[in-house]
Assembly symmetry: C2
């Protein structure tokens, strides 16, 4: 399996998803983001909103309700992780694509020819963006962003044992707030 | 003061210095690396090799020999840091430039319009490079690299209180081993 895949990890509100979509569009390859969620929901039998939340909580939180599967204690988070692992591996086998989030960088680390990107931006940029683009109406978007960041980092650390946001874990990291969304798209497209 | 400055932090052996020189050449602006060392040595009265080593040791190590200066206890490392701080600030005031290492990203954080880059690569790439390019003959270049990394990170943390190599502290981080030196040069030149 040697397909070129771009994996995009990102801070919430940094525009990572938008960047992924645009890069994929310009390269005429598929981008898996929400589609990934749908696939995991379908295969697991869980609701999409549950799968989405699960991707941001490290076991120990609301996902620890263990259930018996094949005789061994097994929790929902592990069950979803295994499905996610299988789906991402298959997608990379099918052909070149962009995969946003869901630890794809880690899952494909020795399986595909990946360009591993991390997109981040400062709190002010992201707070403005989640209000403008996503219509978030929280009183303190900064507080919400900090919580999201913490959860994603914990989830990533739990399943991958690598530190989220450390430059050394990626081929490229980009500050979308400083460089602009379009410049990030251009750089990734040209690197591909 | 609003000059465009590119600051390059880098892991030892990653080619950060070479990238800085090439970017500066292509943009026809000066690059300060060894020149910085010379300036600090000249102004401080210390030997260049001493200044070089000092830039990689956080106080607590060989630089703790305090001497009296203006009545207060003051160690060599702090003395050199203040000189370095002043020189880097002046260089950025003089005009656009590339500055390699020496915490320039931190020193100029609110003083200049900076593009803050971090260059890294995996141990194998860097080990090969320090043997080939710098002619290092250590039996274990990997071990030497790990020590260098640790020292630079500690120095950075001591004086800047920000974590070296965390994506969030830079506008862009690049894995020169995976992307190649020339691609890194091109990206930084185009972003400038």
């Amino acid at each position: 399996m040697k397909n070129r895949v771009i994996t995009i990890s990102r801070e919430f509100g940094s525009g990572g998803r938008t960047i992924g979509k645009k890069v994929a569009e310009e390269l005429c390859i598929p981008c898996y983001d929400r589609e990934l969620l749908e696939k995991i929901a379908k295969e697991s039998g869980f609701d999409e909103s549950y799968v989405q939340e699960a991707g941001e909580y490290a076991p120990g939180g609301f996902l620890t309700s263990a259930f018996s599967r094949g005789g061994s204690a097994y929790n929902n988070a592990d069950y979803l992780w295994n499905i996610q692992y299988g789906i991402i591996t298959s997608l990379a086998q099918e052909g070149p694509c962009v995969i946003v989030g869901r630890c794809a960088d880690y899952i494909l680390r020795e399986k595909a020819d990946c360009l591993r990107a991390f997109i981040h931006a400062d709190l002010e940029f992201r707070a403005r963006r989640i209000v403008e683009v996503y219509g978030e109406r929280e009183e303190s978007p900064q507080q919400r962003l900090r919580e999201k960041d913490k959860r994603r980092a914990a989830y990533h650390r739990f399943y991958t044992d690598i530190k989220w946001g450390h430059a050394q874990n990626y081929d490229i990291t980009l500050n979308s707030g400083r460089l602009g969304i379009d410049a990030c798209v251009q750089i990734l497209r040209e690197l591909y």
